[in-house]
Amino acid sequence: MPAIAMSSRSVFSGPRYVAGAEIAPSGPSWKILEFFQRFIAEAGSTSKFLQMARSYQELRSSLEVCAGLGDDWDSYGAAKPSKHSIEAADRLLQRLFAELFMPSRVIPSAEGGTALYFNSGNKTAYVEYRNSREVILAMFDDHGDPIIVELTESDADESRALSLIRSYITS
């Protein structure tokens, strides 16, 4: 009788730490990702949930790329994202998928760290996990001064950040 294989980070794009500038997924995990993306392209055209599932896969891939960066990745001396910042961003990403509230991008920070960006119209918000273990929430648009909130990695602060982002982005 068919059995489901043990799920693993290698299959669903968890952070990996590879020397060099970029991770090139290879082998079965990449084939599964291709398979999944093909399926989602067909089925996701009308289901918002499946569109989010595809977005989640792509963001996890972006996080893998961040995890594979070296120092000076931007040629301006930026430190590579620390393992801790990658893991913190990964946790938040998982939570966002569970809550069906997806960010637009996951990118490395020039300050050293990893950031999740949310965009809607002319509004932008991001949560940045710095290598220094600071957590910054920033929200800004084309007009007013940016709103900056310093947070911790606690569940309560994460919830607060999501609540603030939701209300800012959708207001």
């Binding site: 009788m1 068919p2 489901i4 799920s7 693993s8 669903f12 289901s47 959708t170």
Partner: protein, 247 residues
């Protein structure tokens, strides 16, 4: 025809959709749809334009040509918490409820209300078909046996490896139930992204029915009758263990 509500404490529904396709409306109707936000501003404050883009390239010994075309298709409206949205398009309407899903009645009632609003703005329409879709994600321990969770799954002969890294099945089955009428069930399964130690099995049930030129009254009676059908199919697809897991 009302059906006994199905309730689970841990419902696996990630999205429920009621969609109604209509014969393409004239492009001029898009101007009417653009007036719709004023009526839903309180409950659906986020509106986005939907457009259809087409690129055509032609290469032949006689000529090489390329053209691009874009047309407005309609608008999408989202609630402030992004859990509910609806699309008002030139070719139809759909209402989407994302998790947490409460029950059929509020879901159906909201879709009915918004359909009425859509009809108010676009005027007469010719319905082509309607569909009710439930996108479920069944979270189960991994590794594990599919047969412990589902009663619809791929059969593998013992001579080939039994461990699935992923799978994808899609089956189209005829439906012929009193009330909802003749239709097609498209059941899709695959493995979704999941956390270590678990698997997330997509169980996507799409109930599609032809409904040429039916009146609104008949249309919604048939949609209401799908409730019993979708409950029956969903329960039939699960093992008692899986039902227990989501109860």
């Amino acid at each position: 025809m009302a059906s006994a509500p199905l309730h689970f404490d841990n419902p696996p529904i990630r999205e429920a959709i009621i969609a109604i396709q209509v014969h393409d409306l004239p492009d001029s109707i898009i101007e009417e749809l653009r007036k719709l936000p004023q009526d839903v501003q309180d409950t659906y404050p986020i509106s986005t334009q939907m457009s259809l883009s087409q690129f055509v390239g032609e290469i032949s010994p006689q000529r090489t040509a390329a053209s691009a075309h874009q047309k407005s298709l309609g608008l999408q409206f989202g609630s402030a918490d992004s859990k509910q949205l609806f699309q008002a398009r030139l070719n139809g309407f759909s209402f989407h409820r994302l998790a947490p899903y409460e029950s059929w009645k509020p879901f159906r009632d909201e879709a009915f209300k918004l359909w009425g609003l859509y009809r108010k703005f676009v005027g007469p329409v010719k319905v082509v078909n309607f569909s009710v879709r439930y996108v479920n994600a069944l979270i189960v321990p991994a590794p594990g046996r599919l047969e412990d969770h589902l009663r619809v799954y791929p059969q593998l002969p013992p001579e080939i490896p039994q461990e699935l890294r992923n799978y994808y099945i899609r089956i189209d089955l005829p439906l012929n139930d009193e009330g909802s009428g003749d239709g097609t069930l498209t059941m899709t399964q695959t493995l979704l992204p999941s956390e270590p130690g678990t698997s997330s099995i997509l169980l996507d049930n799409l109930f599609m029915y032809a409904a040429l030129d039916v009146s609104d009254d008949v249309l919604w009676k048939r949609i209401d009758a799908v409730q019993a059908v979708k409950n029956r199919i969903f329960l039939a697809a699960l093992t008692p263990e899986m039902r227990e897991r989501i109860s």
